[in-house]
Symmetry: C2
Subunit: 678 residues, 2 copies
């Protein structure tokens, strides 16, 4: 029996039990009997609640994580001493270093290895760009206002929260009803203002959460921060809501840089800004956030990818739009099968999904909590042909951390048409294609004499005719008849001597086209937060701590990512140990292995604990043995095992190899043996 079926059965039992209690009371049953029935009901409720918890895994201690993040200044609310403003966070030393490490890995994984063209466009963007892209008109969220106080709420989020609440607080809700509600919640951001108004104000009668007041009807609010550029004040600008437009407007120059060759990809790391109505959930929904976007330009008919065969066997966790609307199941499918079955619409899109999955693995994200969710047809932009979000399961639920969209030719086309610039690429037609065309042979002198200044316009009109129209005109003239054509509202008589038109063929060597765009787009802040949640843990043996003690918490960052690669401590507060410790720390820094040095009077346990909290994978300790030529201990964070190495140089090389993943702790332990204290 599946979990869902069990849940349903329990729910049904609970409902029947509740009815029975009502009946018992109505019948005036003895109080002990009623109490017994109530106790059974409570047991059923408890069983149901615990089953629903199993589904979301062991409860994650977010409070403890958030305390640690704040206490160790991984990131903190911006302008805190000035009272703070929602949706803005500043990164401290550890946060900065993690962010940079993630970006460096991203750059190496995508830009360098795939030889993309990196671009850095400005955040402040001229209005024209965002008018062309549609953002000025359509980059909106639906908002409702508290009818009394004027406070604003995001309409879809109110609906989602209300439904989540409803489902949680009604354990016995029949499956059909629950699924219906969950479907509504999933589609919350896809409703029109009227539909959403009906749901909020009529069906669910939702009130303002802070006051209980009535809410306004939903209306669109543009999420872009607006400003004015230049001293005169007549030039509008916006902070870009995404980095992609900075690539599209540079397409022509990028194509030139690439010597006109297609396909190619451009990539950009940079800030995006959205004036969120209700920023929340820390780094998950910020008003200023770091993005990493790739625009892969490709011929619309050539979305195969040369490296796809290399990744076709990789299994992806796919939550297709079909399954979202039916079974609710995630399937493990290889990239190759997914493309063959038409689940993922093309190889290039699937190729990037695999690359994204490999990227997450490199960061140490728990791959059991990663899936790709396909956009529902109702979610997708009208021009997009297929979209898959990378979702990572966090304590907030499944969170979109990257998107993979096939945006067809939309972007280049709109900028091209808006600015009257040719943003097409070209490809050779091999072998050249034969094409029928109308060969127009005009007596320009005669036409000039007859049509005077209008002759150029008449000529252009003739050139603009379709093959069939031109040939039909030609046939008429060949038959000796005059023809009348209307150009700019004026009728002109064309006589047979003026023109012969014959159907002919020519070879087409080059074809011009608007490239399609496949866009993998990453939220660096969200990915960073996922890394933090997935690497955070409490040391089990110390969960039971004395009251008032801080629990020992650890970030198990992998060495590639860890901001501090190796701490150096002195065991005792003695000048000679301190001196050597700080020298070793300097040597590590020189080798590009960022190191901190702790020569305080704290106990060694306390020192290790500080390093654990900052996620340092290794620690070298100088102890009395070091003074007698017995070397130094090297401790590994997660196993808490230690080895002892005599030579400083060997020790540092060992740390370097471990941090570059050239060797593992297991092999090091095998070679040196565990150090169990003198």
């Amino acid at each position: 029996m599946s979990t869902d079926e069990e849940l349903e059965l329990l729910g049904a039992k609970l409902t029947s039990q509740k009815n029975q209690i009502r009946q018992l009371k109505k019948d005036g049953a003895e109080s002990t009997v009623v109490q017994e029935a109530v106790a059974q009901m409570k047991a059923l409720e408890a069983a149901l609640t615990s089953m629903q918890l199993v589904d979301s895994g062991p409860a994650f201690d977010r409070e403890s994580l958030e305390n640690t993040l704040l206490r160790r200044m991984v990131y903190v609310p911006s302008f805190e001493i000035h009272g703070g403003t929602g949706g803005f966070y500043d990164f401290g030393p550890i946060g900065c270093a993690l962010k940079e490490a993630i970006q460096n890995i991203w750059r190496r994984h995508f830009v360098v290895q795939e030889r993309m063209l990196q671009v850095e466009a400005t955040c402040l963007t001229a209005e024209s760009v965002l008018k062309a892209s549609g953002h000025v008109e359509r980059f909106t969220d639906l908002m409702v206002k508290d009818a009394q106080t004027g406070q604003c709420y995001r309409a879809d989020k109110l609906l989602e929260d209300h439904i989540e609440n409803l489902v949680t607080k009604t354990p016995g809700m029949p499956k059909v009803e629950r699924e219906d509600l969950e479907r509504i919640a999933r589609q919350a951001d896809a409703y029109t203002p009227t539909e959403l108004g009906d749901l909020l104000n009529r069906r669910f009668e939702i009130k303002a959460p802070d006051t209980g007041n009535v809410l306004s009807e939903p209306f669109p609010f543009n999420l872009m921060f607006q400003t004015s550029i230049g001293p005169e004040g007549h030039s509008k600008g916006y902070l870009r809501p995404e980095t992609a437009q900075g690539i599209f407007v540079n397409f022509k120059r990028l194509l030139d840089y690439n010597s006109g060759k297609m396909p190619f990809a451009a990539a950009q790391l940079g800030l995006g800004f959205r004036n969120e109505i209700s920023p929340r959930a820390g780094l998950i929904r910020c008003r200023e956030f770091q993005m990493a976007e790739i625009e892969h330009f490709v011929h619309p008919d050539e979305k195969d990818h040369p490296k796809f065969p290399q990744v076709a066997g990789v299994e992806l966790s796919l939550f297709s739009s079909d399954n979202q609307l039916t079974t609710g199941k995630v399937e493990k499918v290889t990239a190759g099968d997914a493309v063959a079955a038409g689940m993922i619409s093309n190889e290039t899109l699937a190729y990037f999904m695999v690359r994204t999955q490999l990227f997450c693995e490199k960061l140490g994200i728990d791959m059991e909590r990663v899936r790709f969710r396909q956009h529902l047809p109702s979610e997708m932009a009208h021009y997009a042909t297929d979209c898959w979000d990378l979702e990572i399961k966090l304590s907030y639920g499944w969170v979109e951390c990257a998107g993979h969209a096939d945006r067809a030719c939309y972007d280049l086309k709109v900028h091209s048409e808006f600015t009257n610039n040719d943003l097409k690429a070209s490809r050779s037609v091999i072998p050249p294609r034969e094409e029928a065309f109308a060969a127009i042979n005009a007596d320009k002198k005669l036409m000039g004499k007859e049509f005077k200044k209008a002759s150029a316009a008449v000529g252009a009109y003739l050139e603009s005719l379709s093959l069939e129209e031109a040939c039909s005109l030609g046939d008429q003239l060949t038959a000796g008849s005059d023809a009348h054509v209307i150009v700019d509202g004026v009728s002109y008589k064309i006589t047979p001597p003026m023109l012969t038109i014959t159907k002919s063929t020519r070879l087409i060597h080059e074809e011009r086209f608007y490239p399609s765009v496949i866009e993998p787009s990453f939220g660096i802040g969200r990915i960073l937060y996922a890394v933090l949640e997935h690497t955070f843990y409490h040391r089990e043996e110390e969960i039971q701590v004395k009251k008032g003690d801080v629990q020992r918490v650890v970030f198990k960052f992998n060495p590639l990512l860890a901001p501090i690669k190796c701490g150096v401590c002195s065991l005792l507060k003695k000048p000679e140990q301190e001196k050597i410790a700080s020298e070793i720390s300097d040597l590590l820094v020189e080798k590009d292995l960022f190191s901190t040095c702790d020569i305080s009077g704290a106990s060694i346990g306390k020192k290790y604990s500080r390093l654990d909290e900052l996620g340092a994978p290794f620690c070298i300790t100088v102890d009395p043995g070091s003074m007698e030529g017995k070397g130094f201990t090297l401790r590994e964070r997660d196993s808490q095992q230690q080895i002892r190495v005599v030579e400083v140089e060997t020790l540092i090389q060992l740390v370097a190899d471990l941090c570059e993943l050239k060797s593992t702790w297991e092999t090091v332990v095998q070679k040196y043996g565990l150090d169990t204290g003198n």
Copy 2:
């Protein structure tokens, strides 16, 4: 005789020659005589002009540089296809990579090696922060408007341009007059609106450059981009004009992170935004620009630096404020002597100036064109105690590329007072200091009975008295008199039984203080532009090219900085050469040596030329010899020399060593010998 003296002599001769011609004409001298005198005058003018040119070195071909930058998309105007907006630039692949390399070197040189705490605050900043810092009120430039068209100009720049023009177009101007004008130009941004109005509209009668219309009086224009945060629209925000404030508002958390220890430095890389009135000169004056700022927090009395002895012997080119106002000379002085003589106000400031100089050297900037210019007293912010700009000589003149300011305690103090948060640090007083204080011994019961609810306020008032006030009050009471104190406007009678106050002493173990801030601040865009100008050259042998040919231009980026470390080319368009070339290029990329692969049908000269333009220091070529096991050529960009290496692995290791500066081209040539073609 110095250049200045020669110039002065020539100027005097020219003036006398002009007077002579006037006299000759007046006297009706023969035309041949006058012509002779005019010819002499012209010769003098030519001599003067050429001498002034010598001073600015060989003319730099900026047009050629700008063509190359645009053509190879190093950086390009933003939103170009939408018509562009002044002061915004997008970076292409080469620009991005250079910028990142500069930032990585900066991070390693400052953040890692000096163990600074890196921070990343948001660009969008709440109004309160910038009110406290004074930016909302005072971050302005003086602007004038064309009285007819309303077009805006920056007042000080108009004055500077006018004076530059005047000086250039008047070759024989007496030295005193020229220096006076130049002094005015240097101080242009330090005048009050009234002073500047007098100079512009009365003394020089400057008109609007585009129309010749009269200009308005100068008035302040705030350079910050303003926006509104949140949906309700009542919360103002600005794009930060500098990154520093993001560090100051986080000071308390940073101090905590550093376990309360002082001194320490925090550093930040990030964007700054200024709504420049007249953006110009490409990357030199942009509206959005990358900054790198360091805030070194230190006790106001302890501005010595522990590492200063290591750099005291380094020579700096100093242009002190005294010399700017007198001799106009730059002096070479060691950092140690400069501090000892009081030229640079403290060791920490001087230490960072040396570090900045070393940073410029690492980037390949020509150190002959670098100087530190001290701010004139009139330029400096009122709170600053000393400021030295790093100036780099470019085709635009001497350009400020970094600043080094001792900002005293200003920043932390204003945020502390504005927000009522304690942003002080503390230091131990060792040995503890004895301090006199007034020991107040009150009969609280009696006072409570007498003063009722006011007794707490009276108590607080007594605690707030100075030592002398308290003792004088104590003496009065001891003498048996009543005393009257006024608290919150109400008079209270204190009788001898209520209170005894005795002068006593206590030990002070800890002192709290506002740290001083030493701030090195870098404009990454300007430094990047300096690198581009200082590394750009034409191949001399090809200056004389056929009409229509593109001149061969080169960026001699040092290998640490070069975006493309090593190109790979096939000599001929043959499949087997192409295959090997692309395999070698892949191997280089795997080794983190960014490589491009050119297997086009272009000539090898053309291929080298393309790489030269992108500043690639090395190129490997696959040729027919490679097919016969004779290996591959490796070409160095600046010498254009080649060697031949048989093994691919050796070759790649060679390139890696050269790029990490582990070996030099000279030693490689010595080992392998030059390859002069088969």
